[in-house]
């Protein structure tokens, strides 16, 4: 084990906490990365105790990677960007956590992803992964759109595309909706047709529906009418999100998440062309957030 950092050195911990895993990074005052680590699921919407444990484990793992002793945890200024804390009651619970760090600054995973994508406070991001949402931050003003979860929202996300696909295939199988190439594609992937699809999806999570999304993109590229309708509807929703985010004039906008690379091609051209590549990973946004919030605390009162 290494030594505790010398007095006066501030170390920053950045946490990117999502529904399936949690990433941590430790960075020193000069901005150098000392170590990275991982933990389990960290979305408090799916369990607060589990999320806090995952964050703690990810911090330990990053400390080990940095060659620092566990006691150094009490010197870390932590920035936490977590999924689920857009729900006010969950923000409260995590905010009141008796955390093991020197200081804790909490915000959403979207916010730190946005900071990281643009390497500055101001900017906007649209996420299309298993779920979907939009976020912009401009001079202290924020705008969050979507992030409503499955099945109530998340238009244009993998889970939404997968659910719309299943709905269309079941209508086709009942001869109550148009024929679609998705029927055979889903039959191949799930080894099921008609009512057997319902059996196969008993207890399915949003991530299970998201696994069907690539089929819908493939069918749309082959010109299937139903697949085209689904992809266009999803892309139009994300385009509408982008237009509202641009309305508060962020300097840059990026698309994030596993579905974004494919769906961006179906969004309105003027919007798609204005997207910029994300510059850094979200956990570095959490570090930046911790650093600026900590510095603001230290400033003399005006």
């Amino acid at each position: 084990m290494g030594q505790l950092p010398v007095d006066g050195d501030t170390l920053y911990l950045g946490i990117d906490g999502g529904g399936t895993k949690c990433r941590a990074v430790i960075v020193d005052e000069s901005g150098q990365t000392l170590g990275v680590g991982n933990g389990g699921p960290a979305n408090p919407y799916h369990g607060v105790a589990r999320a806090l444990e995952s964050i703690d484990n990810a911090a330990d793992s990053a400390l080990r990677a940095a060659g620092l002793p566990r006691e150094a945890k009490a010197q870390l200024v932590a920035g936490l960007g977590l999924a689920g804390v857009n729900v006010p009651s969950l923000f409260q619970v995590v905010q009141q956590w008796d955390h093991p760090f020197k200081a804790q600054f909490l915000t959403t995973d979207l916010h730190i992803a946005c900071i990281a994508a643009h390497e500055q406070d101001n900017g906007a991001v649209i996420v299309s992964g298993t779920g979907s949402c939009g976020f912009a931050h401009v001079d202290g003003k924020t705008l969050t759109l979507g992030a409503h979860g499955f099945p109530c929202g998340d238009g244009g996300s993998g889970a939404w595309i997968g659910l719309e696909c299943v709905k269309a295939v079941l209508l086709d199988s009942d001869e109550l909706g148009p024929k679609t190439a998705l029927t055979d594609l889903v039959a191949e992937q799930l080894q099921a047709r008609g009512i057997m699809i319902v059996e196969r999806l008993n207890g399915a999570k949003s991530s299970d529906y998201a696994k069907l999304a690539p089929l819908v993109f493939n069918a749309a590229e082959q010109g299937d009418e139903i697949a085209l309708r689904i992809i266009h509807e999803g892309a139009d929703y994300l385009t509408a999100i982008a237009r509202r985010l641009w309305s508060i004039n962020p300097p840059r906008m990026s698309m994030l998440g596993g579905v974004s690379q494919r769906i961006v091609d179906w969004m309105d051209k003027d919007i798609a062309e204005r997207m910029s590549a994300p510059l850094r990973q979200p956990e570095f946004g959490a570090v930046h957030y911790a650093r600026t919030q900590f510095a603001a605390l230290a400033e003399p009162v005006a």
Copy 2:
């Protein structure tokens, strides 16, 4: 406790097993009702052991009401109409149950509801309650439509209407969809707006969404465009089911379930006018099914 029925008397048990409860009736050879009873949830899709226990409890409860001893259970010829057994693997599991009856004849809740509604084997029913589906039986040929469950199917059901309502209200709250009167109606019922609705519906079941359906009918009657779109889309789906069911020429068709009374007014007029009132409760259809199946077994081989 009463006496065992005399030798030679066959008693019939009819079971109507749904997702929230299970109803039982015991009827004698002459068709007279001896006793009725109740049990817990009996949809094996949500737990096989629980469903079988509920059926057994409902039978015990009907035996008590009939003044018959528990041992009389072994003399009952049982007809079981269960939700969920349209899924083939679940039909198998219940079929192979080491049941406590003299004989067991298994079919779907839809099938027995259809027999009961028309007091004969041939007929058709459309259910719009928490979920939705259609069923017709004509001279040994059956046609089942929908019954795909929430959130993949169940168009025009209470849960579907409630989910579409929440989706529209969240789009309104993000200013990504049209304004709708549903926003204030949902705010009043759930005491929540925007992201707080998502918090309120964390872990919500299909029956929770169905509680919002009356708001959508109310708003549609007041002319709200979004509510009208939802109700029309749901009613059109049920109309399409009805047209396909009529195509196999059932003698009668009925609408069943808590939402059917309100949504039938929005279906195509020619279809709505051809609906007939259901004649009996589903558990009596289960008795009829048990009786005809048992008689067929006793017939000499041709």
